[in-house]
Symmetry: C2
Subunit: 255 residues, 2 copies
DNA sequence: GTGATTATCGTCAGAGAGACGACTAAGATC
DNA sequence: GATCTTAGTCGTCTCTCTGACGATAATCAC
C-alpha cells in the first residue's frame, strides 16, 4: 500500500450481487432477474447493482434488495458482514468475486451478499413481473437442468456465486438458528423442519427433529398459540429465540 | 445494474489486506507491518496493497504475501475464495470491507484474505526487518493490551479485519483439517495439539486429543518416522491426510 | 364414526466425548 | 547406572446425544 501513488490508483467498478433465497412449496428457490441489455441480454442473473461512492457495501446490498423485492432491509453502518433486516430477512456478506474478465465491459469487483427471506409474494423487479422469478435451486443445479442459451445458465459468474450462496446457506443452518429466517415470525416445528428438508434436500425424522429443536435452549420460544394451517393435530407456535449459534449443531444426514 | 451508464461507473480503489497467522512459542501471532507514511504513519497495519487491473483478487493476495514474507503462494484463477499455497500456507478469502470513510484519502474497498502459515523465520518487509513483526494476538486483544497512540491499535479498520480473521481461524480448525496448515510438512500429534491450544487459548487433554485425531479417517497419514524434538518419548510423525472437513468436528471446550 | 394427517412423547441401542488411570520410551540429572 | 522428568500412547468408565422407531393425541375430510 505504500508503494503506490494514491492519486493514481487503478480504478475499479464495485457492485453488489444478491443471492436471495427462500423456501416455496418445499423447495429452495433463488431470486433471479432477466437482463434487459448486453452483455448477457436475455439471460437470468442475480439482482444487484453498482455501489455508490457514498454508501457502504451492506447498505448498497440493502438498497438493491429493497429496489428489487420491496423487502425492507436494515443497512448496517460500516463493513460489518452480517445483519438482520427488520422484515425478518437475514443479510450477510457472502464473498467477493473479481476475476479480471468476469465482466467483458470493464474491471468489476462484485461483493456478493446472501439474503435469507421467508416466503414472499411473487417478485417484482421495478414493477415488471415478467423480468423476475423465483427459480428452484434444484432446476439450476440438478441433473434435470435445462441448459439455456450457449450452455451458460446465468449471466457472468452468477452461477458460481449462487452455488456458493446455496452452500453457505446449507452449512449455516447446521450450526446456527438461521433457518428461522426462512419462516414467518411465528411458525411450527413442522414448518421449520420442512425448511431444513427443502434446503438440504433430505427427509428428516419428525420425532427426532422435534426433540432436537425444542431441546436446544434459546432456539425456539413458545409464542403461546397453536395453528392447524398444516392440517392434522394443532401444532404449537414458536418464535425465533435469542440463540444464534446451535451447540451442538443440527446434523445434516450423510451421503 | 441496468440503471447505470457503464462508462460512468463510480471509481473505487480496490486493495487486498492479509491476515497472516502463525503459531510461535505456543502463541497465535499475526503478521503486522509498520506504516511509513500518512495516514496512520507509524502505526502497525496488516500487509496489503492495491489490486492491479490485470490480476485477480487471490492472485493479488498471493503476490502481496510473497512480497511481504517471501512465502510463495499459489494464485488461483478466477475468484475462487479458497486456495492452498505450495509452501504449505493456506490462503482463503476472508471478507470485504468498504465503509465509505475507512480510508481518509479516497474510497477504498479492501478484500481481506486469511493466510495460515507454519512457523516462519523472522519476517522481512521488503528487506527492512524493523518494519514487520509477528504480534501475539493475545497482546492485541487481551486485557493486557497496551493501547497505542490515540487508542487505536492498528491502522484503518485493520483491528476489525484481524479480529474477523482470528475468529475465522478459530472456528475453522473445529470442522476442518486446516490446523495442519500451521504445522511443518511432518509433525507429531503433540505438535498439532499445541496448535489447537495456541489458537483456541485452551489446554486440551493429550489422551483424548490423540484418540480423536488418530481416529478421524483421512485427517493424519503416518509418515513412518519418529522424532524426539519435543523431548520425552519419541512420537510418530504424520503428514496431513486428504480429508479437508472433519466429521464429527473437533470440539472447542466451553467457556 | 372411520380414516388420513400431522404433532408430540417415550424407549432403546450405539457412537462419541470428557475425565482420568496406567504404561512406554526417550533425555536429564545425580 | 539409577532415578527423575517429559512426552506419547493405550484403555476404561460414564454421560450425552443421536438415529431408529413404537405409541398416543388432536384435528379434518368423508
Amino acid at each position: 500500500m505504500s508503494r503506490y501513488d494514491p492519486s493514481a490508483f487503478p480504478p475499479f467498478a464495485v457492485t453488489v450481487d444478491l443471492v436471495v433465497l427462500t423456501v416455496r412449496d418445499h423447495e429452495l428457490c433463488a431470486l433471479l432477474v432477466k437482463r434487459g441489455e448486453a452483455p448477457f441480454q436475455g439471460y437470468w442473473a442475480l439482482p444487484g447493482g453498482f455501489v455508490r461512492l457514498d454508501e457502504g457495501l451492506a447498505e448498497a446490498a440493502s438498497r438493491e434488495l429493497a429496489e428489487e423485492t420491496g423487502l425492507r432491509a436494515q443497512s448496517l453502518p460500516g463493513s460489518l458482514p452480517v445483519g438482520r433486516a427488520p422484515a425478518g430477512a437475514h443479510l450477510e456478506q457472502l464473498a467477493t468475486y473479481g476475476h479480471p474478465q468476469r465482466d467483458p465491459r470493464m474491471r468489476v469487483v462484485s461483493v456478493a451478499y446472501l439474503v435469507l427471506a421467508p416466503d414472499l409474494p411473487s417478485p417484482r423487479a421495478g414493477g415488471d413481473a415478467s423480468s423476475a422469478r423465483w427459480a428452484p435451486v434444484r432446476e439450476l443445479f440438478g441433473e434435470e437442468r435445462e441448459e439455456r442459451n450457449d450452455g451458460v445458465l446465468l449471466a457472468f459468474d452468477h452461477g458460481q456465486i449462487l452455488a456458493d450462496g446455496v452452500e453457505r446457506a446449507r452449512s449455516k443452518i447446521e450450526y446456527s438458528s438461521l433457518a428461522t429466517a426462512f419462516c414467518p415470525p411465528e411458525f411450527t416445528v413442522g414448518e421449520l423442519r420442512r425448511v431444513y428438508e427443502a434446503v438440504w434436500g433430505v427427509v428428516l425424522d419428525p420425532r427426532n427433529f422435534h426433540r432436537k429443536v425444542t431441546g436446544t435452549p434459546g432456539f425456539l420460544l413458545p409464542s403461546g398459540g397453536t395453528t392447524t394451517r398444516q392440517g392434522g393435530r394443532p401444532a404449537q407456535l414458536f418464535k425465533a429465540g435469542g440463540a444464534t449459534v446451535l451447540n451442538p449443531p443440527m446434523l445434516r444426514p450423510e451421503a
